[in-house]
């Protein structure tokens, strides 16, 4: 069992329709289950955000949201987008689909655990949504869920909502652990012949490192969730000091609210990169394939992923500059935060240098990849503002922060997700989507995100606070803020509507789209070389592929085609194409 060779034995063979498509252990089906569920909950969170925009753009005009519910909308939107959409989609969805196909395996190493991972994820989603219906509604503590306010009276959902949220997160961590163990072990141990680590596509590298990070970062969230539940239900005082709530002493004594923030952000900051690294990897592949050029500095790209992953465990307290922690921490964490800019800049330069003098095909996946470069550079630069203590202090809790993190870890990974869906859709479904609808979807989404999030930086500079239901007649807020808010809401409405194009395109193409070529982009990586499209159960038919080269042999001089698949053997007399020593 330690070697995969051409052994068919570890494969389970489902006999019924339910075994094949519902309780499936096939990584491709699990990937689609993960993806569809994640996009479904993401759509719900998108609706929440649009309702919030309606409130902010036209205060008093609509009554979808009552003042006492606004924070619940904020919380659910944030938590769903970060954890239940992006983490689940990039790792559970793309990780599941791509890892075995890209490294030439028949499946994940433990298909049953992989299946359990999805069902636990679904359970966490169900618990999360059940939280909408408990007395008091879902928690309104913000996605960071800081105690004591999350569990003391006055905050929405302080009694039941926070419990459902924490329980759901706990289940999610268990689900992710089962998936993550599979992804990591599969990459380490189940690669096909010739697939060395340094021949893996960057997508696999990004997902691999992000999975390791998840296994090390989610424990802190898990522990924080347990302790919050104990504080709330049992009456322990881990996080709650002696305070008066609603005119009465709570009975808690001696707890440390800062401790929660440390635990939360020890999870929360790596979480940013758990979402970003798969996106980095995928975008590297999209750019290389559609620029018909090998990825510039592959080795450095891989090391940058690894180094970013490592460093991201040492920067968490830059989210806590205004928390009241020891001010000397700020110096350390600002420094480590700025050090991360180095490997990140290496990645950005290498993407640009991959595009440089490439044979760029501006197909839809490539459009999204280039759009990612814009939004990511933009969000990265505002990150430099917020990473410095003295600049962060006046900007924290303003719309500048909202603009920053939506640019860098909201919109950027989402653009990559769209690019990746368009890119791999022909392989996953065997059909091609409609080009015109896709382009329209791209342009509205890309320009729309700028129309939404760029003005937010301006609002933040003016000091407009985040998480406010309405601004009212505040002295320091000029009229321009109200116009900007209106404009943002209109843009948000357009982007919101444009996602209809995407869903229509995906669903229509699934049934009516033209049959796709097995390798429509002329990509060299292994997942495009499967004998069937979409790949059948077991992926590779009788024999596993053998890999002779890295994933980026594009426009090789003297080659017959402008790409050489990874599993194409070298011509006998050509040492340049041979497997590396």
């Amino acid at each position: 069992m330690a070697t995969i060779a051409d052994d068919l034995r570890p494969l389970h063979h489902p006999k019924t329709w339910i075994g094949r498509y519902v309780w499936s252990q096939d990584h491709k089906v699990i990937a689609i289950q993960y993806g569809v569920t994640a996009i479904g909950v993401g759509l719900f969170a998108l609706v929440l955000s649009f309702l919030m925009r309606l409130q902010l753009g036209f205060p008093g005009r609509f009554d979808f949201i009552q003042p006492e519910n606004y924070l619940q909308f904020v919380t659910m939107h944030g938590m769903i987008m970060v954890v239940y959409l992006l983490t689940a989609l990039l790792l559970g969805g793309f990780g599941n689909y791509l890892i075995p196909l890209m490294i030439g395996a028949r499946d994940m190493v433990f298909p049953f655990v992989n299946m359990l991972s999805y069902w636990f994820y679904l359970l966490s989603v169900i618990v999360l949504f059940a939280g909408l219906f408990v007395p008091g509604g879902p928690t309104g503590g913000g996605w960071t869920l800081y105690p004591p306010q999350t569990i003391t009276g006055g905050t929405p959902g302080a009694s039941w909502g926070i419990l459902m949220m924490m329980a759901s997160l706990g289940i999610f961590v268990i689900a992710f652990t089962m998936g993550g163990l599979n992804y990591v072990t599969t990459v380490l141990q189940a690669r096909t012949r010739g697939m060395t680590l340094m021949r893996m596509p960057c997508s696999v590298w990004g997902i691999f490192v992000a999975s390791i990070m998840g296994l090390l970062a989610f424990p802190a969230l898990f522990v924080a969730a347990i302790m919050t539940i104990l504080d709330s239900v049992v009456g322990t005082s881990f996080f709650v000091p002696e305070i008066v709530s609603m005119g009465e002493k709570t009975g808690h004594t001696g707890g440390s609210p800062i401790l929660f923030q440390h635990l939360f952000w020890f999870f929360g900051h790596p979480e940013v990169y758990i979402v970003a690294l798969p996106a980095f990897g995928i975008v590297s592949d999209l750019i290389s394939v559609h620029a018909r050029k090998n990825l510039f500095g592959y080795r450095m790209m891989v090391w940058a992923i690894v180094i970013i992953g490592g460093l991201s465990f040492f920067v968490w307290a830059h989210h806590m500059y205004v928390s009241g922690m020891n001010p000397y921490f700020g110096f350390f964490f600002a420094t480590s935060t700025l050090v991360i800019a180095i490997p990140t800049a290496i990645k950005v330069y290498n993407w640009l240098l991959t595009l440089w003098r490439g044979d760029i095909h501006l197909r839809v996946p490539m459009l999204f990849a280039i759009a990612f470069l814009f939004t990511f550079i933009h969000g990265g630069l505002t990150g430099l503002f917020l990473g410095n203590v003295s600049v962060d202090v006046p900007l924290s809790d303003t719309f500048f922060v909202v603009g920053h993190f939506h640019m860098v870890m909201g919109v950027s990974p989402v653009l990559v997700v769209f690019g990746a869906i368009y890119h791999w859709y022909p392989k996953i479904t065997g059909r091609m989507w409609d080009e015109r609808l896709a382009r329209l979807h791209f342009w509205i989404t890309f320009l729309g995100t700028y129309a939404i999030f760029l003005p937010m930086h301006y609002l933040g500079m003016l000091g407009v606070p985040r998480r406010y239901y309405a601004l009212g007649d505040t002295v320091f807020i000029p009229d321009s803020v109200h116009y900007a808010n209106m404009g943002i809401t209109i843009a948000a409405g357009l982007v919101f509507a444009a996602q209809g194009l995407f869903f229509y395109n995906m669903i229509w193409s699934l049934f009516r789209g033209p049959r796709a070529d097995p390798n429509p982009w002329g990509a060299a990586s292994l997942e495009w070389q499967t004998p069937d499209t979409p790949p059948h159960h077991g992926n590779w038919g009788e024999r596993l592929p053998t890999v002779y080269r890295w994933a980026y042999d594009y426009s090789v001089p003297g080659a017959a085609r402008d790409f050489i698949p990874q599993n194409e053997p070298p011509p006998a007399q050509n040492p340049a194409g041979g497997p590396q020593a």
């Binding site: 330690a2 072990t185 060395t196 340094m198 322990t236 881990f238 592959y298 080269r549 340049a576």
Partner: protein
């Protein structure tokens, strides 16, 4: 564009000013093969990674506990007195916990022997040693239950205790409880695997790795206990 070399990652000698050769060789060794850990059973690789993740859970618990203990403004109860048993009129500090620790560490010994006999395909001895391990584990959990009931009887609660900081009880019940759940889970796993060993399940597949995987988990649970013992009882 004139002729250019095909760019590919290489593991050739370091160029001047590059990464030191030793580091390159290390990365090359990790990366070059089909498997990173050669001939290592998938389950064994996975349990190691899982244990790394679980280490972070216990570390988070223990670091939180240490933060609490360092930051509370009222005195922390004295462990030598709290965890003492009165035997024959003498108050002996930490006696119960010393026995518990001895039992659990001994169980690691029987487990290691079980793994050895497993790889020798000795079904009866393997199963017997695993059941002995499980029995020692169950003994540990029972003694923990006794300790809990004693402390509860003396008035220790998660939200307070008669001697000092309220966090004492909270941390104690949470951390030892979480560890006790790990031990209890381990006992169930050990019994399950032992029954499979007895039935000859692993002789059919020819693969006794399950014994070792259960053993790795068990050793981990013991090791964690050493840290809890040191930080909670000896501090």
């Amino acid at each position: 564009m004139e002729h250019r070399e095909v760019t590919r990652p290489s593991v050739s000698a370091a160029e001047p000013g590059g990464v030191p050769q030793g580091l390159r060789d290390l990365a090359g060794d990790w990366a070059a093969d089909q498997e990173v850990f050669r001939h290592v059973h998938w389950g064994k690789a996975m349990i190691w990674i899982f244990l790394l993740s679980d280490t972070f859970i216990f570390s988070s618990f223990l670091v939180s506990y240490m933060t609490m203990r360092a930051s509370v403004t009222v005195p922390w109860p004295n462990p030598s007195e709290v965890f003492a048993l009165t035997i024959a009129g003498q108050s002996i500090p930490l006696i119960l916990i010393a026995i518990m620790t001895f039992v659990l560490i001994s169980s690691s010994g029987t487990m290691a022997m079980a793994v050895n006999f497993g790889y020798r395909r000795n079904r009866r001895v393997t199963a017997a040693l695993m059941l002995a391990t499980a029995l020692l584990g169950a003994t540990f959990v029972s003694m923990q239950a006794f300790e809990w009931s004693k402390l509860i009887h003396e008035g220790v609660r998660p939200w307070g205790n008669p001697w000092g900081a309220a966090q004492f009880g909270a941390c104690f019940f949470m951390i030892t409880g979480f560890h006790g759940l790990h031990v209890s889970g381990g006992v169930i796993i050990l019994v399950t695997v032992a029954i499979k060993v007895l039935r000859g399940h692993y002789d059919v597949s020819g693969d006794y790795s399950a014994v070792e995987i259960a053993g790795l988990y068990w050793h981990f649970v013991d090791l964690v206990w050493v840290f809890i013992f040191a930080f909670f009882y000896l501090w």
